[in-house]
Structure formats: structure tokens, C-alpha cells
């Protein structure tokens, strides 16, 4: 009898794994992020929240924020997840920081690690004049720190996941493959305070790279001191940004305090920032309502409507992010090698209904691969490129007809019900199950195929995708910086980043030309043609919706500048009128 008791109370204990299920918005940039958006247009939101205007500063300046998961590491070379980036951008100073312009739209590169910078005529050699900034232990930051950091990221034995972002640098390929010594990489310190970066060819979006973690300085002696433990805890790293890590108790909280040695320290108003690690979304919402955290990212429409009207709370909803939620086909599969079948599957979904039902109305239905927040220079891409999928839907009102045409081309008869299709989803929690059940029903009704949904943990899903045993996959993909190249180059023949197995010479040629085209309008037209091939003609991938930023903050939190590509640094935040 007593063993039965152990079993019966174990099942309550078994509820243990509830936490990472529905509510965890593990916001690493390529797992689908269910960040809802609002009916209101993003623009009017933007204006209403950028009140950088002065308010009476509170005597004690502190902020309580929440992180959905604990950063795995804050080693600038080894970490690739967003949460790690949030911490790094506050304790480390990249060459420049990107800030949204106010009140007009667009962005500006603000001096950070570098005081000023200039490039040669064809933009292949850039020179940066450093600010006299200091590490938290008083040691001055020199150009050597930047050189060492980039060399370490590119060095083959480091195995840095984001090393490809430094691809434009001179001799990157040879050094990364180990064929050339590190010194031959296109970066060198002319003297302590000047850094020179040389590129293999001019890169229109180079300045975006200078804001990223791959171009943050690192201290060789500190890395040597901590060895393998470097970046695994507060005491195993060193800061030279606006804040430094006071304490990091695992799975609980990370406390940052003002870094006195920071060059711009007197502009930094916050004394302490505490990141509370809270994996349960409901708890985060409760904590915000109870005033224990000052900003909260909202995960469902109900919570957004709940906070929207609340007094003393400022919404920032519906801001489109740089991440597209999409499905992708395995073009080596005997069914999906045919573009008409792929196009039929692409247009068979009503993206507005999908957004309402499966994404809780929290995203922006998207009819092209490039998300609405991306532009080429000052030309917003979507506005000029139109919607290829809508056009396709207009030309082929009945997707089943396209499907049958494709089947006949493959000699598979003309009865869709003979087709067995599996749709792989990258998660097992109830958010994915809702999506799966919706897709299953829609495709059975609209195309008459019998659809199977395969739910698997992210690890297992990714394994299947990489080995090509899948028919349709589902993922999210985020751009690192505001340039279509960043999300189009992944479809070029030699970089099989999305494992569609799709390759198209004309597409490759268009992208290669765009890479070196400095004139924005021309570059825009090249990208438009490339997207048309990818989506309208070939339907290699099936864009569905763009995720949005939805967060609320207490009205006493000031100096906030929410933006898609803006820096998440808390340098300019301050509180005024905290109760």
C-alpha cells in the first residue's frame, strides 16, 4: 500500500516539467517566438513611447527586469543566443551602437568604443579612433583588445558559432579554415588608440557589423586566467561597458551595477539593474502587475488586453521584429521536388486566419520573405516589393488545381487523397499542438491530402532537418541587421543554412551582384527580383507571419527607445517618479 502512495504522489511531482512548456518564450532567434502584435499600427506606437524628455530623476536609480531563461554563457565568441547578447551589450562596449532616430524613423550609428571612424574611397579599409575607455579594473581599453577578440572569434580552434559574421574581413576564409595564420586576418592595431579593418570587397552594411558582439573587445589575460570557466559566471569575465556584473546567482538573478571606469559613465543614470530569471510566463505577468518587475514582454493577447488599459503602464505593442515565421520544404523529397506542389501548399493557407487562430492574433501576416521592418537604405523593402504570395493566390484561386498539375508533372495521378504528407514542428508544448492541429485540418480540407504532424523536441527536430528526413519543416529566422542580404544569402547554393536543398543559379547571381551594389535603389531592385524567384516562381520557403515586440513598462521608467534593430543597452534608462 505504501508503494502505491509513492506512485500517486509522484504523479503530482511529475507535473514538474510544466515550466518550459507553453509559457517559455525561449527567445533564441531561430526558434519560433510567439510574440503577439496589436491591431494598432506600429508607427503610432513608436511615437508615443519615445519620450526621452527629462523628468525629475529619482534619488536611487534602479531597474528590475525579467529574463525568460538564463544565459548559457557570456563569452562574446561562444554565445549565440539573444539572452547572452542582452547581458553582453550592457557590460561590454562594441565599436559603435545603433540608436533609432527620433522623431523621424531610421537609425544612426552612435560613437561607443570608437570616438570616430572613416573609410577609404571604395569602402574596403575602415579606420576607427578609439575612445579612452577603461576596463572595470582600471586597465585602459586598447585596439589590441579588439584585434585579439576578432582573431579569437575567427580562430578555428575556438569554434565560435557566429564567426561567419566576420566573413567580409580580408582572408577570413583562409584563416577560419586554418590555412593562414591569425595575423593575416584583415584587422590590425595601428597604435593603442587606432584600429584598422580591411575587407575583401566593399560591404554596404559593414557599419551594422560594428555594433555586434563579434566586434566587442576581450582581454587575453582574463581569458587565460579563467580558462574553460571564462564566461560561465559573473566572476569569470570582465566589463568595460556602462555596467559591470555585481553578482550572478544561477537560475535566480544577475545584478549589474554602474561601471565607474566607463568612458561615458556620467551619462549613465542607473546605479543597479537586476535581471530576474523567471522561466514561467504567468509568474512574469504577475510580478509586473505586483510591481516587482518594471518591464514585461507579453506573450498572449489576453495579457496584452489586460495590461493595455491599466493606469501607470505604457504599452509598446505591435512593433515588428526582424524575425519571420515560416515553413520550408525539403526539395529533395520526391513530392516536394516539384515547384507547383510547393506553390499549392504555400497558397493553401489563409494567413490572416492562421494568425488569429494559431498565433493568437499577435503577429503580422506576411506575404513575402523579407519582413516589413527591413529596408535598403531609406527604401522600406515590403513597400516597394509588393506581395508575391497574394499575387500567386490571385492567379490561382483554387490551390488544388495547382497541386494536381504538379502531381501530373510527377506522374502521381490526380487524386490528392493518395498523398501522405508529414509536417515537422520544432516543439511539443501546447502552443505547437494548437498550430499542428490547425495545419492538419486546413491542409486536409483545402488540398484533400492526409496530413500527419510530427511533434519533437527542438534537438530532435533540428537533427531530422539537418539529415534531410522531413517533408515540411517550421522555424523562425531573424535578421542580425537591417539589410535584405542577411536573410537572402542563406538561400545561395553553397550555404545550405536552411537545409531546403534548393539551389538556383539566377538567384545566386542576383545576390552576388547586390552584395557589391552601393546604390540603394539598384540594390533594392536586385533583391526584389531575387525574392520573386525564391517565392513566386520556386516557393522554396513558405513565409507565414512576422513576430512583433509587445511589452509594457511602468510610466516612471524613462529614456526607453524600443526599436527592432536598436541596441538593448540600458545606458540611457532612468526612473522618475517611482512610488
Amino acid at each position: 500500500m505504501k508503494k502505491q502512495r509513492t506512485l500517486s504522489f509522484l504523479f503530482v511531482a511529475l507535473l514538474a516539467l510544466v515550466v518550459f512548456a507553453a509559457c517559455n518564450t525561449n527567445n533564441n532567434d531561430n526558434a519560433a517566438v510567439d510574440v503577439p502584435d496589436a491591431g494598432t499600427s506600429a508607427q503610432d506606437n513608436q511615437a508615443q513611447t519615445n519620450d526621452i524628455g527629462e523628468g525629475a530623476l529619482d534619488t536611487v536609480q534602479f531597474l528590475n527586469l525579467a529574463l525568460g531563461e538564463e544565459p548559457r554563457s557570456i563569452d562574446a565568441s561562444l554565445t549565440s543566443e539573444a539572452v547572452g547578447g542582452t547581458i553582453l551589450t550592457n557590460i561590454r562596449e562594441p565599436l559603435t551602437r545603433i540608436i533609432p532616430l527620433y522623431p523621424e524613423s531610421g537609425y544612426m550609428f552612435e560613437p561607443a568604443g570608437a570616438r570616430s571612424w572613416e573609410s577609404n574611397a571604395d569602402g574596403t579599409v575602415w579606420t576607427f579612433h578609439l575612445n579612452n575607455n577603461y576596463w572595470e579594473d582600471g586597465v585602459p581599453v586598447t585596439a589590441h583588445d579588439y584585434v585579439f577578440s576578432m582573431r579569437r572569434t575567427v580562430a578555428p580552434e575556438t569554434g565560435a558559432p557566429l564567426s561567419f559574421m566576420l566573413a567580409p574581413l580580408l582572408h577570413f576564409d583562409e584563416v577560419n579554415a586554418g590555412e593562414l595564420p591569425l595575423e593575416s586576418l584583415g584587422v590590425r592595431a595601428i597604435d593603442d588608440m587606432t584600429l584598422e579593418i580591411s575587407l575583401t570587397s566593399p560591404v554596404p552594411f559593414f557599419m551594422n557589423l560594428t555594433t555586434d558582439r563579434v566586434m566587442m573587445p576581450q582581454r587575453e589575460d582574463i581569458i587565460a586566467l579563467h580558462g574553460e570557466r571564462y564566461g560561465s559566471g559573473g566572476e569569470f569575465t570582465i566589463a568595460n561597458g556602462p555596467f559591470r556584473i555585481e553578482s550572478w546567482n544561477q537560475q535566480s538573478s544577475i545584478v549589474l551595477v554602474r561601471n565607474e571606469h566607463y568612458w561615458d559613465s556620467d551619462n549613465v543614470r542607473l546605479d543597479t539593474v537586476t535581471f530576474h530569471i523567471m522561466t514561467d510566463a504567468t509568474t512574469r505577468h504577475h510580478a509586473f502587475e505586483a510591481g516587482e518587475i518594471d518591464i514585461v514582454a507579453v506573450t498572449t493577447r489576453q495579457w496584452r488586453d489586460h495590461f493595455y488599459g491599466m493606469s501607470g503602464v505604457i504599452p509598446t505593442v505591435g512593433v515588428p521584429t526582424q524575425t519571420i515565421t515560416y515553413a520550408f520544404f525539403n526539395t529533395d523529397d520526391e513530392l516536394f521536388q516539384n515547384e507547383n506542389i510547393r506553390r499549392a501548399f504555400m497558397i493553401a493557407i489563409d494567413r490572416v486566419e492562421l494568425n488569429e487562430v494559431a498565433f493568437d492574433g499577435f503577429r503580422i501576416p506576411t506575404y513575402g520573405w523579407i519582413v516589413p521592418s527591413i529596408s535598403v537604405g531609406e527604401y522600406n523593402f515590403r513597400e516597394h516589393a509588393g506581395d508575391p504570395i497574394r499575387e500567386l493566390q490571385a492567379n490561382h484561386p483554387d490551390p488544388r488545381e495547382l497541386l494536381i498539375q504538379g502531381m501530373q508533372e510527377l506522374g502521381l495521378g490526380d487524386d490528392p487523397s493518395t498523398l501522405n504528407v508529414t509536417f515537422n514542428l520544432a516543439g511539443t508544448d501546447e502552443w505547437f499542438r494548437t498550430l499542428g492541429e490547425y495545419l492538419q485540418q486546413i491542409y486536409s480540407v483545402n488540398l484533400g491530402v492526409n496530413m500527419q504532424i510530427n511533434f519533437a523536441e527542438w534537438g530532435i527536430f533540428f537533427d531530422n532537418v539537418q539529415n534531410g528526413n522531413f517533408q515540411i519543416g517550421f522555424m523562425g529566422w531573424g535578421a542580425f541587421f537591417n539589410e535584405p542580404f542577411d536573410v537572402l544569402n542563406i538561400f545561395m547554393s553553397e550555404t545550405n543554412a536552411v537545409h531546403t536543398g534548393w539551389a538556383n543559379a539566377e538567384f545566386d547571381e542576383l545576390i552576388n551582384r547586390a552584395m557589391v551594389e552601393l546604390d540603394e535603389w539598384e540594390r533594392l531592385q536586385l533583391y526584389i527580383q531575387a525574392e520573386r524567384i525564391l517565392i513566386y516562381d520556386e516557393a522554396a520557403v513558405m513565409p507565414l507571419a512576422t513576430t512583433t515586440l509587445n511589452s509594457f513598462r511602468r510610466d516612471f521608467v524613462r529614456g526607453v527607445r524600443p526599436s527592432t534593430f536598436g541596441d538593448a543597452v540600458l545606458k540611457y534608462h532612468y526612473t522618475s517618479g517611482r512610488p
Binding site: F9, V18, R72, E228, E292, G459
Partner: protein
């Protein structure tokens, strides 16, 4: 002398069990499809994968990995977390298990006391109103899902009334809600268990003797019945202790408590083999040790058992 032999025999058996558990879990763990590197973004440069494998010895043949693991385990080194590079599993468990033990311990103690009292009440008022009320409480405590109770408590006590903090750990105020939720389980377990054990004891002849000696009703319960009915309850103590730890998973995650539960959940989510292995070994050691401690207490408390060992 006999007792020393008894202890040695038990230790021997414990080691064998532990060895088997480690072996089974090790090979079970490796059979889980999916690879731990999947959390890395985009396509992984070949070099990164190689480095990672080498660092954790995953590139070696499975059996060698097993031998290495055993050798490290013998020295108390449970390896390094895959998901959090640079963090030693042993150190993490060392730091987080006290937190879970603290919260869980208090919850177990409260649950034990309240459960026992409820069990006695249910036994004394058998088939009458108090009995039913206690039984309903005991069962509800187990049926209503924890992930419903916890947020509700948060909503009422933290958000609406603001008496308690919504999350976190450290001050006693932080402990109130998590302990309340975690105590439900032992309350239910011990209420039902104590009821049947108490009924059993009250039917014994020596209770009649006590009454015939003029011992008051309450003293008969406290002095005679309680002790004899508590004894069997000790035997399920070890199960309850492990139950508390596993029970903490949900509560710790919801209230963001840096206990072993939260770590375990994250490790399963991230396919973090070494952390899962480490936690499993920790639970196995805990359970086997608790089993031995409980048996030992039982021998101390129940005079009948001790004699039997000496006469064997």
C-alpha cells in the same frame, strides 16, 4: 558488533544499486535522439562541433565515455554542464540542493505533522463527518494540479493583496507560498496512511490494557497509539523525501526558486546529458541513503527489530 555487520552489508547493497542505476541511466541517456548542440543558432561550422565534442569527450566510443564517467564519478566529479559551458555539475548540485532541501524539508515537516494529525482525526471519527472532510482534503490535495494552485496563490497573495513576493527566494516571506503548495502532497499521503495505521493500532489489545489502567482518552492516543502507528509511517519517509525533491520541480520553476528542480527541468529541455545524469545520480544516492537512514531509525525506534538482529 552485529550492528556493524548489518551496516556494512547495507552499504554493500547500496553501492551495487547505485552502480546499476548509473549504468542504466547512462546508456538510457545516450539513446535519446537529438544532439545537445542544437541550441546553437544557424548552421554550425564543422570546427565548433568538433571542439564541443572533444571538450566533453563525446567523440570517444560510447564505452570509453562510460568508463571515464565512472572514474570521474568515483572522485565526485559529475562532469561539466553541456548547456552551460564552464559550470561543474557537482558544484551546481551542491549549491542548489540545499535550497530545494530547505524548501522541501519545511514542506515535508509541515505536511508530515498536519497529515498525521488529520490521519488521527479521521481514524478517531471513522465514517463520520470529520473522517470524510479529512479524506476529501487529502484527495483534493493530490488531484488539483500544482500548476493551477500555484498561479492562483500568486494572484491572490502577491498581486491582489501584495502580502508576499510573487517569486524569488531568500527571505521567509518568499517561502510561504512554495511551501504551502509543496506541503499538499505529504499532507495527503500521511493523512491517508496514518488513518489506516491508527485504525490498526486502536484495534490492538494493549490499548484495552491502557484503558483498564485508567489512562485518559487523550493519553491513550498520544502515549500508546501514536507511537505504535507512527512507526510504519517512517518506512515511507524515504519515498516522501525524494517525492519532495521531484515535487519541487514545478513549484521551483513557477516561483523562480534556484533549486535543483529548476535546473533539472532546464537540463531536460536542453538535452544537457551531464546535468541530467548528475541530477539522476544525486536522486539515486539520496533515495538509497534515505532508505538506509530510515531503516536505521526504524531499528532504533522499534525495540522489537533491534533484538531480532542480535539474535540472528
Amino acid at each position: 558488533m552485529k550492528l556493524v555487520v548489518y551496516i556494512l552489508k547495507r552499504l554493500g547493497l547500496m553501492l551495487i544499486s547505485l552502480f546499476m542505476i548509473v549504468t542504466i541511466t547512462f546508456f538510457l541517456m545516450r539513446s535519446i535522439p537529438g544532439d545537445p548542440l542544437s541550441h546553437m543558432a544557424r548552421s554550425l561550422p564543422e570546427q565548433t562541433r568538433a571542439n564541443f565534442m572533444a571538450r566533453y569527450g563525446l567523440d570517444q566510443p560510447l564505452f570509453n565515455q562510460y568508463l571515464i564517467y565512472l572514474r570521474n564519478l568515483a572522485q565526485g566529479d559529475l562532469g561539466e554542464s553541456l548547456a552551460f559551458p564552464g559550470r561543474s555539475v557537482t558544484e551546481t548540485i551542491g549549491r542548489t540542493s540545499p535550497v530545494s532541501a530547505q524548501g522541501g524539508g519545511i514542506a515535508l515537516a509541515i505536511g508530515l505533522v498536519i497529515g498525521t494529525v488529520l490521519g488521527i482525526i479521521a481514524a478517531l471519527f471513522r465514517n463520520r463527518l470529520p473522517d470524510y472532510i479529512v479524506m476529501i482534503i487529502a484527495i483534493l490535495g493530490v488531484t488539483v494540479p500544482v500548476f493551477v494552485i500555484a498561479p492562483l496563490l500568486q494572484l491572490v497573495f502577491a498581486v491582489r493583496l501584495g502580502w508576499l513576493p510573487t517569486f524569488g527566494w531568500g527571505t521567509p516571506r518568499h517561502m510561504v507560498m512554495p511551501v504551502m503548495v509543496m506541503a499538499f502532497l505529504p499532507i495527503a499521503t500521511y493523512a491517508r496512511y496514518m488513518k489506516s495505521s491508527m485504525l490498526d493500532t486502536l484495534g490492538q489489545d494493549y490499548i484495552l490494557t491502557a484503558q483498564s489502567k485508567g489512562v485518559s482518552e487523550t493519553n491513550v492516543i498520544l502515549k500508546h497509539a501514536l507511537r505504535n502507528s507512527l512507526l510504519p509511517a517512517i518506512t515511507i519517509l524515504s519515498g516522501s523525501i525524494v517525492g519532495i525533491f521531484t515535487g519541487a520541480f514545478v513549484v521551483e520553476s513557477i516561483f523562480s526558486i534556484p533549486g535543483i528542480g529548476t535546473h533539472f527541468v532546464t537540463s531536460i529541455h536542453n538535452n544537457d546529458y551531464t546535468m541530467i545524469m548528475g541530477t539522476t545520480v544525486f536522486f539515486a544516492v539520496l533515495f538509497v541513503v534515505m532508505q538506509f537512514v530510515v531503516d536505521f531509525i526504524y531499528v532504533l525506534v522499534d525495540p522489537r527489530i533491534k533484538l531480532m538482529h542480535e539474535t540472528h
